[in-house]
């Protein structure tokens, strides 16, 4: 008797949106970038590089190595750690090409379960932020970890980071616990620690021997600057952590359907790195064996050509700037309407998502009465906003807040 698995909320939301006949419906639950016309966007640099690939007749048509395309792995790691990263120069950085960010988390989790904190220690606590991307839990539990717990993160009252709670959990958790950290543009709250706050977090983690597992899905997409969005990861590396960073190129390259991810491993030394990678290769071999080449080739060619790299940075800035524009316009409109409450968090938060702070009744009102679809948690995707629908959305939020308590 096969039990039915629980449905995933965000997919149900999309389904309901698709079935809705209302002409001015708005989907603020979408998980991908949209242009101001509400369309998905193929980055111009990606289109260019795809043509290069398709016309390259010297291309190797073999299976990719199990760990992936070597040039992809090294250029992807460089992008997050920085060209001049001392760890790279010390030959203690390696990587595994994976099936998207999820795949990278999966391989990292499987490795940690087998080899971290003893051998096959499924009781090591895995801490994920409260709230976090809904799939974090599933990836770590399916890797065998029995104890996936939340760490305090979002302060609903303050509508900001609960730093005291976060640090408190870091101080009181069992030693050697694993913490899944969002490198930037926290999903779903859009609230990141400041650089000073990251320093405090790192200090406690180092002192209490906690493992840092970064999830970096929005580098460049959050602030428009690759360096700025990688600051936390680079700080941890320079502080001496051995750590993992799961990278996704779905959003910043718009390669959602090519599953381009990279698990960057920062080890103590070259010898340790070698051992870790050899075991990860075994894990990959029984999961997908050889990763797909298309997305990795696109990213590699772009990152390793100065001209294409600049063009890519411009494309990324285009996306980041549109989101920033929508944030400032939404806040301005709500303030102009005199909508009760403070709306600074909309521009303080960063990245694709924003926790508006609406309560469940208000969310329901928006969905049912105004045909504006957002998550029950009050998370909205800023990319769902356009110059054409932002007035309608602002007015609707105003209505929801004033009519529904």
């Amino acid at each position: 008797m096969v039990p039915q698995a629980a449905p995933v909320a965000v997919f149900k939301l999309t389904q309901d949106f698709n079935n809705d006949q209302f002409p001015n419906k708005v989907n603020l639950g979408v998980g991908a970038y949209r242009t101001d016309e509400g369309q998905p966007w193929v980055l111009p640099v990606v289109k260019k590089v795809e043509k290069i690939i398709v016309h390259d007749d010297r291309l190797n048509h073999e299976y990719l190595p199990i760990l992936g395309l070597p040039e992809f792995r090294s250029s992807a790691s460089k992008i997050v750690l920085g060209d001049n990263s001392p760890a790279i120069q010390e030959n203690r950085v390696g990587a595994v090409q994976c099936l998207g960010g999820t795949g990278a988390l999966k391989i990292g989790a499987e490795f940690l379960r087998r080899f971290y904190n003893g051998s096959n220690n499924t009781k090591t606590p895995i801490y994920v932020s409260a709230p976090t991307w809904e799939n974090h839990n599933a990836v770590f539990s399916s890797a065998g970890f029995e104890d996936v717990r939340p760490y305090r993160y979002w302060d609903a009252e303050k509508r900001g980071l609960d730093l005291a709670g976060f640090l408190g959990d870091l101080e009181s958790c069992p030693e050697h616990s694993v913490f899944v950290l969002h490198a930037c543009a926290h999903n779903p709250t859009g609230t990141d620690p400041t650089q000073e706050q990251w320093k405090q977090i790192a200090e406690v983690m180092m002192r209490r021997k906690l493992f840092a597992f970064f999830d970096s899905a929005y580098q460049g997409f959050a602030s428009g600057s690759l360096e700025k969005d990688a600051w936390a990861v680079r700080y941890f590396v320079s502080s001496g952590f051995e750590m993992f960073c799961a990278q996704s190129f779905s959003k910043n390259f718009g390669l959602y359907n090519e599953r381009v991810g990279n698990l960057t491993v920062v080890a103590r030394d070259a010898d340790n790195l070698k051992r870790v990678l050899s075991q990860m290769e075994k894990i990959v071999r029984i999961t997908w064996s050889n990763p797909p080449s298309q997305g990795a080739r696109i990213v590699t060619i772009t990152l390793t050509s100065p001209e294409l790299f600049s063009e890519w940075q411009e494309n990324v800035k285009t996306m980041a700037n549109r989101v920033l524009l929508m944030r400032s316009q939404l806040k301005a409109k709500l303030q102009a309407l005199g909508t009760p409450g403070t709306w600074d968090h909309i521009t303080n938060q960063i990245g694709m998502f924003s926790f508006t702070g609406l309560n469940p009744k208000q969310v329901e009102y928006l969905v049912k009465e105004k045909h504006i679809y957002l998550m029950a948690s009050s998370r909205i995707n800023m990319c769902g906003l356009t110059t054409k629908n932002i007035d309608y959305v602002a007015e609707s939020i105003h209505e929801a807040v004033t009519k529904v308590q």
Partner: protein, 398 residues
């Protein structure tokens, strides 16, 4: 080396760049034992002899000795790259619906009763291994959860060395190997006997179809065992790959087919598959799947594709025949009928471990550890050398 925020007395961070604050985390991680395939590949790579021959590769090699893209595939990729309707969207976790529909049809036949009665689930996966992995994970949910089933799963001997590991990763512990006639594919009457046994003993078949169309040159004929089982009303899993028959090796185009006994369990099985996929790779990659779907949905493309596949199959058959003839002319001991009786890309020579080692160490001819070789890697430039080498392996005193 700059470390923002660090000072000489900051706890846990020493000054000379040694990350000494933490104990080294992974020092108890041993180097993974090298798999036989890897050992082979690196031995071949290190071999500086000009005459070295690699017969252990997994791809189809052209007469020029390189894996290549079917001409039709190249054309379609160009077309797709300029298609304005293709959007960079997240595909569903179960993959592109058109792809799974076509992949299901080529395995079961378009008019399969199981398809008509809605008893079939198809899931696009990033490659063949991924399909097997998903199937193995599903098996654990399939069986009664309270019984905590964890095997046994029987694998043929020989088989790919990663198969056992895949099932183990899915939590299955008992994995014995069953006897399988070396290299030969079963005839239809042999399949009939097997399916009778499977049904009467209530066993579960997990069929592997990695090189469909490369055996007989015909999709349908190569999938006959799957269609036969389904026509008997059996429940089964079937892992498929389109890498070989489309030359899409780098694109990870796989498919897991689930044929169920009743359509009432379709939704629960689908929801479990979706859950498992989301914790493995979330969604599959689409590039290769688009190509396959485009070909399989268009009769002109199908004809052209079948022509290219036929050429591949005929070349493999020719190589087998010529090799057999060469061995006969050399007076090589033993019978070599099995070379031409077997079909497809790979051939189990029947050589033992010592003989295989002789071939790699003394003749620089690399076979897979079980004595299997990739027929397509044999070409007019190395054929004589290979035949001589096999002859020597069997006639020199070892």
């Amino acid at each position: 080396m700059s470390r923002p925020g660090s000072s000489p007395d900051e706890k846990g961070v020493s000054q000379n760049g040694d990350p000494g604050g933490q104990c080294p985390l992974f020092t108890n991680t041993l180097n993974a034992p090298v798999s036989p395939e890897t050992r082979l590949l690196s031995a071949f790579a290190r071999d500086t002899q000009a005459r070295k021959v690699d017969l252990a590769g997994r791809e189809y090699y052209s007469e020029e000795g390189k894996p290549f893209e079917l001409r039709l595939v190249g054309k379609i990729k160009q077309q797709l790259s300029t298609d304005p309707t293709l959007h960079p969207e997240y595909p569903s976790s179960l993959g592109l619906r058109e792809f799974t529909r076509k992949a299901t049809e080529v395995a079961l036949g378009k008019h399969s009763r199981a398809i008509v009665e809605n008893q079939v689930l198809g899931v696009q996966t990033p490659g063949f291994t991924a399909a097997v992995r998903l199937g193995a994970e599903l098996l654990r949910c399939w069986y009664d959860l309270s019984a905590d089933w964890c095997g046994p799963v029987y694998l043929s001997s020989p088989c790919d060395d990663s198969l056992a590991g895949i099932f183990q990763a899915a939590g299955i512990q008992e994995i014995p190997s069953a006897h399988y006639p070396t290299g030969a594919d079963l005839s239809q009457s042999q399949w009939a006997v097997i399916t009778r046994l499977i049904t009467s003993r209530r066993l579960f078949p997990f069929l592997l179809l990695p090189t469909q169309a490369l055996c007989c040159g015909d999709m349908e004929r190569d999938a006959w065992p799957v269609q036969h089982c389904a026509s008997l009303g059996m429940e089964l899993l079937c892992a498929q790959s389109f890498s070989h028959c489309f030359g899409l090796y780098g694109e990870a185009v796989g498919h897991l087919l689930c044929v169920l006994k009743q359509n009432s369990v379709l939704l629960p099985v689908q929801s479990q598959a979706d859950k498992i996929v989301r914790s493995l790779w979330a969604r599959p990659s689409v590039g290769g799947a688009h190509v396959v779907t485009t070909v399989l949905s268009n009769s002109a493309h199908l004809v052209e594709w079948q022509g290219e596949v036929k050429h591949i199959v005929e070349r493999c058959m020719l190589i087998r025949a010529i090799l057999r003839e060469k061995l006969r002319l050399l007076g090589t001991p033993g019978r070599w009928d099995h070379l031409t009786q077997q079909g497809g890309l790979f051939c189990c020579t029947g050589l033992n471990g010592e003989q295989v080692e002789f071939l790699s160490n003394r003749r620089r001819v690399y076979l897979l550890p079980g004595g299997c070789l990739n027929v397509s890697a044999i070409n007019c430039r190395n054929l004589d050398y290979i035949a001589e080498s096999i002859h020597l392996a069997l006639t020199s005193s070892l």
